[in-house]
Each structure stands twice: as structure tokens, then as C-alpha cells.
Subunit: 374 residues, 2 copies
């Protein structure tokens, strides 16, 4: 057996979700509660009756890749050959980490609080993981200086997520410029940045930076899961400079051959219809306003989300967030996620998702506040 | 960059396919030319309008996994917890090889001629690959004694494919029993067998063995790509003893999260409707009869396929199969695959797929025979 498996725990998020009862208020959920746009599903089903369900090219349908590249139009990455369509953004991360790093000598630096999968994938590949926590004092705002200070000579990849799961933080335009300048100034072998933009369509602030816009050694990752309520479609992608993209394609082909053709057809319809990618964002904007009102009423300390559909709330000083989250399910029937699973910097906090009906969210907050005050 | 990538070439099958012209006779194709059963696609699209497109559990929808486990009913592997639904059988292979082997000490033994991906995946994972060729003299029949003789103390996994891509050979009931007995008699750490059964529904002989029926250390791999003309759906699976399945699930979850929900719905309909899995096999049986007639007429030496939709034809002694296949495209406009890419034991042969219209297949054979006689 592969000895690396023994040290990797299964997902804590899924373990907590498994404790959910039929009566539970679920603020743990990492997927939209909206239904997807059925017209795109129906169109893809109709196409199948004529075209069947054959493989696409390994990196995906070239027209879809071109549509995606042109939509984001990142400098030097705006052609179909810059895009690889993956089995969701999870496979995109997996392939990117596996391709870019040499386990024998390279390190990855994860900017935390962060989605736990980055570190787990690196562990699975035998890659040394370092992390740097963004400070709670500034509401976990991205701090380029802190990131650069945490680099070592072995760091070959920095992973950031913006909007962030779990904090909802968005990296600013000034911050991406400052980070890019500092990384370019280092000289020597480039440090790559993996910018996980899976929640990009759900951004509620104007000042949103994107590493791929300012830094040539960027892999941007995205997908349809969150923007279009299509978590189960498993369509994600990487956008990267062409020489790297060729290497990503190679690994991707041996891992899964290609992403599913049905999902690629759905994606092509979405990228062909103007506004379809951001159609559901309006619902999130309305929901967020109601969520912020409920948070203000709760008396809890929280980080106002710039994007995504999570909010982090603070527990009393010294609270073990994992124990608290388990107790919250047992005693108050509310599912949440403990901050510590997103990195030490989020210990003492809970991550709440706010895609549940607003009354349920409000009731959940009330119960959390009551438990926190015990 | 991961240094292992440099040594891994992209797929030769895909490189040859890229040479195809609009006029070409395509006998290279590894996917069905039939259309899939549209009723299952439409049913899955309808379900989406009610249920959305959420994630399933990481290892897949439990009802689907139960249906699959019960359909094959392998001893000790007949429950849902024995099945992991993967992004096609390619991911099933990838996860199985990655999970089962320790790159630091274990070897994999590939029974050739074989699908090239097994060796490529092992290389990508840094695992030592050995191979054992089945003898051309017997038409590449599976020979348990030759397989057992090729084991070393470091062999922890043997990979066989039955029906075989490329030879169409099926392992017999006697051969699986004999192989199982020899492996069990070795004692010590078990040697696992990965039995790639992707073409199982397309079997034309009665005496077809299955390792999972007789050997407890088996991972059976399968999927809907070939049986139901659904290559682009990317639905495959592993069937394995529960403790191993738990480990496979773990790796699978970090690589891709879960297989796509749409495809799992299609699969559930197929496994629910009696006969739907083998409905298209009738077309292949008819086609095979016509293919065998064309082969007899061609004067070429060939291996009569027990299963799958390939046939191997012999080239004149001393022929370089790769050079021949490229010349065949250039000069005669016929796409085929050279034997050598499936292992040294198939050098001097060509693999032809026979899913093209029978007249095209017949014309292709005529051109191959003419080229071989030059």
C-alpha cells in the first residue's frame, strides 16, 4: 500500500456533514442551494441525441477552451491552448500541484485560512507544505508582505484563493500588484502562483484583483460548481501559460483522460450566452444583504465577506473550534465547520455557509450565539 | 516541475489519430460508433430539473454502487461499499495503481500486450514496471504459468485486461483458477490483481473467466464507455474488498472529489433496466461475424477476437510496426495502431478496431494487405 495514505485523514468537512440529522440547520454546506439553469442541461441532452457522447480531446473541446480563455482574457493566456478542462476544480488543483512541483526538492506555500484540499493533495504527492496565516486582526485580509516573508528558497508554488473559502476575503488590485512585483524581483527560478478563483462570479466588492492579470507565472483555477449551481457536473479548468498548459494536459490525460463531454456541452452553452455565467449572482447579493443584517443582530463578531458564500464568526477566546462544532451539532442541531480545519490562523472561529434559507440562517446564528455564551 | 513528466510521452494512439484526414479509413478508433441509448440521457436531464446537480458522496451514489455490486456479485465484493464510482475507467486505474503500490519498494507486473496507460500511470507515480508478454504462437492467449514465472519478490500488483485491448483475448475460467491458486500458494504479502474488464459486455466466447470470482485480492475495473457507447460520460468504477475500497475512496476524493452526478444518474437507469447494459452487444456480434469474413478474405494472419472490438493482424517478418503505421496513413490513408505501443510482444503486428462500417473495414484490410506485400 502507498504509505502516504496512512497520514492523510479523510475530509473533516464531509465527516461533520455526515452528522447532520433531518432536523438540522445546515450551515456547513459548501454547495449552492439554487437549482441550475435547466435550459443548458436540456440543450446538452438534445445535442447528445445527434452527436452521441464521445470523448473530447484530452484537454477538452477546443471551442469551449477558446470561449473560456477569451472570457477571462488574461495577458498571454487568452487562447484555447491556455486552457485545460478538468473534472471539477478539484482535479485542476490536483493536476497543477502534481505537475509543478518536484517532491524531492520543492515546497508549496499555502496562504491560510485556506480550503483544506491544497495541503492534502500536496501530502498525497509527498510535497513539503508550509503555510502562512493572514492576520485575524485585519479580518484575514491578504497581506503580500507576509506572504513574501514566508517564502523559502525551496518555495516554487504559492496557493491563494480569492474569493477565499473560508473567509470570503478577496485579494485587492493593489495586493496582487505588490505580490507580483515582489515575486518578480526575487530573480532565479520563478515562483508560481495558483490562484483559485472558484468563487470569482460571487464577488460583492469592486476592488478585486486577479494574479493572472499581473503575474505571468500564474495558474488560475475555476469551474462552474459555484457560479451556476453545478457542483455535480464536475467541470473545472486551469488557465496557464501555454508551455505549462502542455504539461498539465499530459498529467490530466493519464489521470482521467478527459472531462465529461456532457458537462463540456453545458459549459459551452453557458459561455456562449452573455450573462449566463453571472445570472445567479443576483440571488447571492440579495442573500448577502439579509445575512449581514442577521449577523449584526446576532451580536457575534464576524468578517464581512467580500465574496463567496461563507462567513467566519468568532468564538470566545480559547475555544477549541473542532470540539465546539461537534458540540453544536449534538446539542443545538446546527452543522458548521470549525476554523482550525482551514489552518491554525482560523482556530477560534467557525465557518458558516449562508446558502440556506435566511430564516434558518438566522436561527442558526441565534443557537451559535447561545452556545458561545454558555 | 515534476521531473517524472519529462520521461513520459503523450499517447501514441492520440498522436496517430491526429494524422487522420477527412478521407481516411479509421481503424484506429478506440470508441464505439453507435449512438448511446438516448432514453437514459433524457431521464437524467429530467431528474436534474427536480434534483439539481449536486455532488454525490465521494465514492458515488450509494444506490448506484449497490446496483453495480449486486450485478457482478463477486464473492465478498457484492455490496455498495465495495464500489467506487470514478471519472471513467482511466481514473479507476490511476487510483488503483496509486493506492496499492509503494513507489519506494513495490513493482507492478503488466501482462502484455496491454493498453499503454497502465505503464504510463505507473511511471507517473514513480513505480517500477515489469512486463511479461503472452506468446504470439498461441495467439497471445493468457498463460498463468508465464505470469507467475515473471513475478519477483517485489511484485505487489499484476495487471491484466480481459477482454484484452489490443488482442481481444479473454482469460479462460481455467486460467483464472490456475492463476489464483498459484498466487495464493506463494504466501507472504498478497499479490493483488487489477482485472480491467472494460470490454466485458462485448464477449463472444462462453469460456470467460473473471479474477474477482476466484481470487480475493482482486480489483475489478469497468465502466460504461464501451458497453453503452458512453466514452464521453466518464463513468467507470472499481470493485474491491471493502478495506481496500476505503483507501481507494480516499485517493479518489482528493483527486477529483466525485464522479459527475449526471453520468451517475445515467448509470443508475442503465443498471435498473434489465438488459440495458448488454443491449448493444448484439450489434457487435453481427459486426464481428462480418469482420471475420473480411479477415479470411484478406489473406492476412490475424488473432480471432474473443471479445472487445479490436483485431490484431500480422505484418511481414522484421517489419517495424510504428514506421509501418505512419506509412500506412501517409501512403494509403488508413489509420491503425502499431503493435509495439502495446508492448514488445506485439511488435510486428497492427491493432485494428472494427467499429467502422464494414465496407470501410474491408477496404482498409485490402490496403493493409497491399502495403504489407510491397
Amino acid at each position: 500500500m502507498n504509505p502516504r495514505l496512512a497520514s492523510i485523514e479523510p475530509s473533516q468537512i464531509r465527516a461533520l456533514a455526515a452528522k447532520k440529522r433531518p432536523t438540522s440547520i445546515d450551515l456547513g454546506l459548501g454547495e449552492p442551494t439554487l437549482l441550475p439553469q435547466q435550459r443548458f442541461i436540456d440543450a446538452a441532452a438534445r445535442q447528445t441525441s445527434e452527436l452521441g457522447m464521445k470523448y473530447t480531446l484530452n484537454p477538452g473541446d477546443l471551442e469551449l477552451r477558446t470561449l473560456i480563455a477569451q472570457h477571462y482574457a488574461y495577458p498571454g493566456m487568452a487562447e484555447g491552448r491556455n486552457v485545460c478542462i478538468t473534472g471539477g476544480s478539484q482535479e485542476a488543483m490536483y493536476v497543477a500541484i502534481k505537475t509543478l512541483l518536484d517532491p524531492a526538492r520543492d515546497e508549496v506555500l499555502i496562504v491560510e485560512p485556506a480550503y483544506p484540499a491544497y495541503a492534502k493533495i500536496a501530502q498525497l504527492e509527498g510535497i513539503e507544505v508550509r503555510s502562512v496565516g493572514m492576520p485575524a486582526g485585519s479580518g484575514f485580509r491578504y497581506d503580500p508582505d507576509a506572504i513574501v516573508a514566508a517564502l523559502t528558497p525551496a518555495t516554487r508554488l504559492v496557493i491563494i484563493g480569492s474569493p477565499s473559502n473560508p473567509t470570503g476575503r478577496v485579494i485587492s488590485r493593489a495586493a496582487v500588484k505588490s505580490l507580483a512585483a515582489a515575486l518578480l524581483a526575487r530573480g532565479g527560478e520563478p515562483v508560481w502562483v495558483l490562484d483559485d478563483e472558484l468563487y470569482r462570479e460571487l464577488t460583492y466588492v469592486d476592488d478585486a484583483g486577479s494574479m493572472a492579470e499581473v503575474y505571468p507565472y500564474t495558474i488560475a483555477i475555476n469551474g462552474l460548481s459555484k457560479s451556476n449551481a453545478l457542483t455535480g457536473l464536475r467541470i473545472g479548468w486551469t488557465i496557464a501559460p501555454a508551455p505549462l498548459c502542455d504539461e498539465l494536459n499530459k498529467v490530466h490525460a493519464w489521470v482521467v483522460t478527459a472531462a465529461n463531454t456532457f458537462g463540456q456541452r453545458v459549459a459551452r452553452s453557458i459561455f456562449t450566452e452573455p450573462g449566463a455565467l453571472s445570472e445567479q449572482a443576483a440571488w447571492y447579493r440579495t442573500q448577502r444583504a439579509a445575512v449581514l443584517e442577521a449577523l449584526r443582530d446576532s451580536g457575534l463578531t464576524y468578517v464581512e465577506p467580500d465574496g463567496a458564500f461563507y462567513v467566519c464568526v468568532k468564538l470566545p477566546p480559547g475555544t477549541d473550534s473542532i470540539a465546539f462544532a461537534y458540540r453544536l451539532i449534538e446539542e443545538r442541531d446546527v452543522v458548521t465547520n470549525p476554523g482550525r480545519i482551514f489552518g491554525e490562523s482560523l482556530e477560534g472561529w467557525l465557518r458558516l455557509s449562508w446558502v440556506a434559507p435566511i430564516e434558518a440562517f438566522r436561527e442558526g446564528l441565534t443557537r451559535i450565539a447561545a452556545a458561545a455564551l454558555v
